[in-house]
Symmetry: D2
Subunit: 424 residues, 4 copies
């Protein structure tokens, strides 16, 4: 982790400007009847999980270009995650991926204790063939025509639950790549039935206080059909499995032009919004940094979440899920954690009473302005103050670079050479 | 209607070639273990409804370019529909749109009797302000914030049911344009709640032997959000309303790249597939002739339907819903009725036992070939023979042109001048 | 126009807050090495044209819902445009559409003089059949197979040039709906050749100091192919016609997910960027208020324009082109004019020297941050100060509402009843 | 290669049925005024290249699932390619990818001689870091800000030309993944300038009788911008480089809903259509088997090619470019070669004189029918007869399976274990 004196020194150089900016913004918000301190308090209490795999450099099917200091395993990954939380104070939990992060539970718990982190949802992996695995998922996993292969995939998910119980997790996230590349390759109905049967076995193994998150995705790695292709299918799954089953929304898993915030609103109404995998995308499941492509869309999602705050049973899980192909993953995750908080803060600024008045009066323009004015408010001083007061960095990026952390781990961790992706 | 001797003369000129083609195809299918006569019988029993509004020239928001002989009202429209059925023997029912087609029930029934037609689902219209209407739907109809406006829209739908009862219809189709053009303009959740409440009132007025079809659409006329935007929302509606409520799938109402046949499969599994509005599209709700843009996609939809044939309660309604902007609407509807039958015939050719074998064996290539070989079989001789044996035309298009029907009605019906669309 | 004392009174109530906000923002920008006054000066000098047709309520093919005080003709429209400019000081020119706005040139010039407006690009209309027109554009206009129809369309465009010369315009914008609804309906190559020949005749009639803008669009009103479907075809047209021909970019005329700012960059490099029709869209050519759906995308377009500022010959035309279906068109146009200026102001904040340094160093994250920080700066105080100093309104919307202008014109102009769009 | 007696035996079992089908189809075509033999002759003369990398199992960024008998290198790949050509008689040439296929030229030429194959276009690879490469392409290759990296990429391309000269190739295909993942990461204009400069150096090294093909792609592996993102940019490149430069169209490289056949028509008119990478896709660059998703679209592309046949200088290159993730690559390539020929045969059936008549008469429906009737003709007997007469297999798939080739090479070539894609 980073030497606290580095953080203090970096903060000291920025404290006066921050105080001035915070005060100016506070005055402006006060004119709108808003308390900047109240918003800051809500922002400070908002956390988002980071995925263990996010701290490694990602790639495409064409290539992967590793950076210096790639983590060698889960313990290195937890070190990197700890830095992210240390500077942002926004990411106290880490989500593990099995078997990538398999390790003795006691060691994981001990490491978490040392780094001040806890464990978020567990993630199973049946979209790859893992070393030592007896049967292949080439033609599907939980929906495979073969009962043996389905059983193997179910057993793996149950193992993930068991690992999770041992380390304090409370949720299992299931994403499968099952589907087909050609019309006819699978029977769309029978494949879904097999998936549901397998999921029912996993659900049966779920502890009472756990939640099961299923994730839909329109395409990739299957290119004609995907068994859980959209939120409609995802909702059917949750309804079939039971009350502990909820739908996870990954922002990059939808068809072009789809209105994602409407899906969020619908799942909230159905009582089945499990949570989010945050990232951004322009074309497909691009897995870019959250808010990098369409920050207004991210704000609109949070507008729905703030609208639903306080409803009974409303408690979605929040996680970043990005592929960092050309940036330092720690930097991207720190900024994305900030950008999620930014969208939340902006959504908190919306004057909901006025908004409803305009909506009910058919004043489309003023209603739209309510959201647009909230969105274009620069809430960075609120975010920075919340970090600073919690012991984090006013400017996490500058502080991280000043710390020399990347160079330090690059010296300890062996260099990884570039390699092709899936195409060869 | 067209003089039967015209049909006979036209058929006579084509009968020998048809017999030869039918025999050659029969021999080829026999080699695959298929009986051409059995397939022909199923095709002959397959019908698709035509929409009354489809026989008039359609337009865009930019312009409408009427053709000669535009129908002046519902009775002219029924004449045109009768010609379509006379030549194709595939379209015995007509779907009415209220208030466009409002007329004394007795007159409608009498006209239907004369033309040999019956009435399919009723369609309400709350996406326009009709002459004499007291309150405007500018800001929504069934989901409008105003209780008075919602009540007006509900009453209109109930009136549609009443008209339908008087003329022998058994279903109501509800499509609304409600939504919003700007983020914030409506509360996505409250708007949906209002829609559901209004629909519950309509549902309560539904006779026991009727079905209620709700139709989803991603966009247009609303350009940011639409209250029934996709099949997921549509399914929630059906689940909320009750067992008589089903989801209607219009092939042009989905986001780009969406796999429509999967939606069909899912709705079948949910027991909520109400039926179809057939057309084709490349970009949005283009409302082009069925099969004109992607005939393989149409086949894949029918592949799901044939797969589900015979399941308890499986009885989807089939209707064409197209906008004929540059063709003679009668010609387009005749060909589209044929093309729907074509897709059905091709789907009947699939060897389902082999298909399942390949699917279960993970033989993606052979499974895909099962569908592709069925699709590329030229089943025109089957369609033509089914028409001919039922008293229709071997070649409906040539026969229609030979009949002079369009010139005849153009002489009777006054010319309509071109006009702008919605933009001015 | 609006009584200046209304503007003064409204501004007086907001002046102190504006001064404080402007000062606070100025201090913050000064820290980044930026002069707020210099940016304000550039913003104040930035203007965007309004389309005459934009001040009427728009519609879709399904319906049009007029509002109170719809303009009865071009002179009412110019009154409305004058109000927009009076309050925003951003829209000194109006773009006319022929034949919609046809009127004696002297009267147009006189009215412009009275209202303080001038005339921007002329727009021809061959996508509708106008009353009295002898030949129909149902099957195309400038690319129609019929030489007579093409000649009629060419003559109409030349008439537009002549009207434009008489009223001080310096550009002709040509957008056609020509294309096809079905594969095979037109020969894609021969249709394009015909279009090019017709355009060459129009080009030949263009005065030396005029520019010709051609506009591409992926679809609508044609739903299979459009003769000028994308910027590649548009570029070929400009190259074929000559140096006065340039490509116009309408933000809503592209395929889903297309990177519009790249197109802008490419057309700049080719020396053929004619200008913009600003609006916003989520699905198709939605013609929503500029920046309403994706404000970051608008900013990225302006980022390219600021990057290119000062290059020899770089002088794109800027116009709003929106359809106001659910808002008061004057209000939408005022806000959109502001939002275009907002994007320009934000783009001016980008530290281009730093940006290039990060780009050349492969520091993707810092480069991206350069743009994101500029975008999230709330530049409203700059826009308001620029308006206020030019005699406009600090808050155009509140001032407009306070003025009672809409009620006043609604009293003078007869109510228009709702009507169907193109579908019936 | 496969024992000729296997082919003979397989053909013998199918010859009678083929003769009957060919005769029946011939009679039907004769009625339309078409000679089946003339069409067969054109089909037999039509060839499509296969890519060396296509015979290995492909993958995604998530995983790759190898099959039995994966080729160990270029010589195994050429063996597999030889089988494809032996059975289909449609694929006499192979396209190499450097450095994947690097080998002594004399050995390559010798192997080609033994297998009866020749070499098609050369493909360079600067989208991966190859073992031993000194500088990384992480931030771009031909458009990298670093002159050294660009020089390395240029040198690699020139090496590809040299290898190609030694083995009889006559074209270089350049596809780069260069672009950016975030707005601001690169300067869109300067990056394109750098690309053009680098390409000019490659162009200068091109022998006089060679062609240079550049390939556009909307996204992947770059997820915000791609330097050659569409055909418009591709055309600018060809215009800038010179007459030997042409644009390559990969069917899967476009934005959703884009009309690809229009792009083909435009590039033909510009004299810059270099050729094709055939495959099919539903969502992105899915690289599925040609014609598997939208066979009508493939037909429409060939309709443009047949329309342009015989124009001076019209000579596009045809190649398959697919990723075979779930099928035996040899089987997919054989069927795709057939499907390309199928689309060509169908396009040859179009009655172009009638088509033009309908087009010029504004008879949209009959024009569309001309294409649709050609498309739905089952031309399999023509394809099979062409293969059979050339010594290939009437049914390549059944013959291949009967031959036991895959089992045989699986016994010789070591098994490859599954592995993750680019994400870990």
């Amino acid at each position: 982790m980073i030497d606290p004196t580095t953080i203090e020194a970096q903060n000291a150089a920025r404290a006066a400007d921050l105080a001035a900016d915070y005060e100016a913004l506070g005055a402006r918000l006060a004119r709108r009847g808003l308390s900047i301190d109240a918003i800051k308090a809500k922002v400070a209490a908002y956390h988002v999980a980071v995925p263990s795999w996010g701290v490694g450099t990602g790639g495409t099917r064409f290539a992967r270009f590793p950076g210096p200091g790639e983590p060698r395993g889960i313990f290195d990954k937890l070190d990197d995650c700890a830095v992210i939380h240390q500077l942002t104070r926004a990411t106290p939990t880490v989500s593990l991926h099995i078997p990538w992060d398999k390790a003795p539970a006691a060691d994981l718990v001990a490491k978490a204790g040392q780094t001040g982190l806890a464990f978020d949802a567990m993630n199973s992996n049946t979209f790859q063939d893992s070393p030592g695995q007896s049967l292949s998922y080439k033609h599907g996993s939980l929906s495979n025509p073969s009962a043996e292969i389905r059983a193997q995939a179910v057993a793996h998910n149950i193992e993930c639950i068991e690992i999770g119980r041992a380390i304090g997790s409370r949720a299992l996230t299931v994403w499968v790549g099952d589907g087909s590349n050609f019309p006819g390759q699978t029977d769309l109905s029978r494949q879904f039935d097999r998936y549901l049967c397998a999921m029912a076995e996993i659900y049966a193994a779920l502890p009472d206080d756990w939640r099961l998150f299923t994730e839909h995705k329109i395409f990739e790695p299957a290119f004609y059909s995907t068994v859980v292709q959209d939120w409609g299918t995802n909702l059917m799954i949750a309804q079939e499995l039971g009350p502990k089953a909820h739908c996870l929304v990954d922002l990059g898993h939808h068809a072009p032009t789809v209105n994602i915030e409407m899906i969020v609103a619908r799942l909230i109404r159905a009582g089945r919004l499990g949570g989010f995998h945050f990232n951004d995308s322009k074309y497909g499941d691009d897995d870019l940094d959250t808010g990098a492509i369409d920050p207004f869309r991210l704000f609109l999602v949070f507008n729905e979440l703030v609208e639903a705050e306080g409803r009974p049973g409303f408690d979605p899980a929040h996680m970043l899920d990005q592929s960092h192909n050309v940036t330092d993953p720690i930097e991207s995750l720190m900024l994305s954690a900030s950008d999620v908080r930014r969208a939340y803060a902006q959504a908190l600024l919306v004057d909901r009473e006025s908004l409803r008045g305009h909506q009910d009066a058919g004043d489309a323009l003023m209603a739209a302005q309510c959201l647009r004015e909230a969105f274009r408010t620069d809430v960075e001083p609120i975010l920075a103050m919340a970090r600073s007061e919690a012991g984090g960095a006013i400017d996490p990026l500058a502080t991280y670079r000043a710390s020399g952390y990347r160079a330090q781990v690059a010296a300890e961790r062996p260099a990884v050479s570039g390699a092709g992706g899936g195409i060869v």
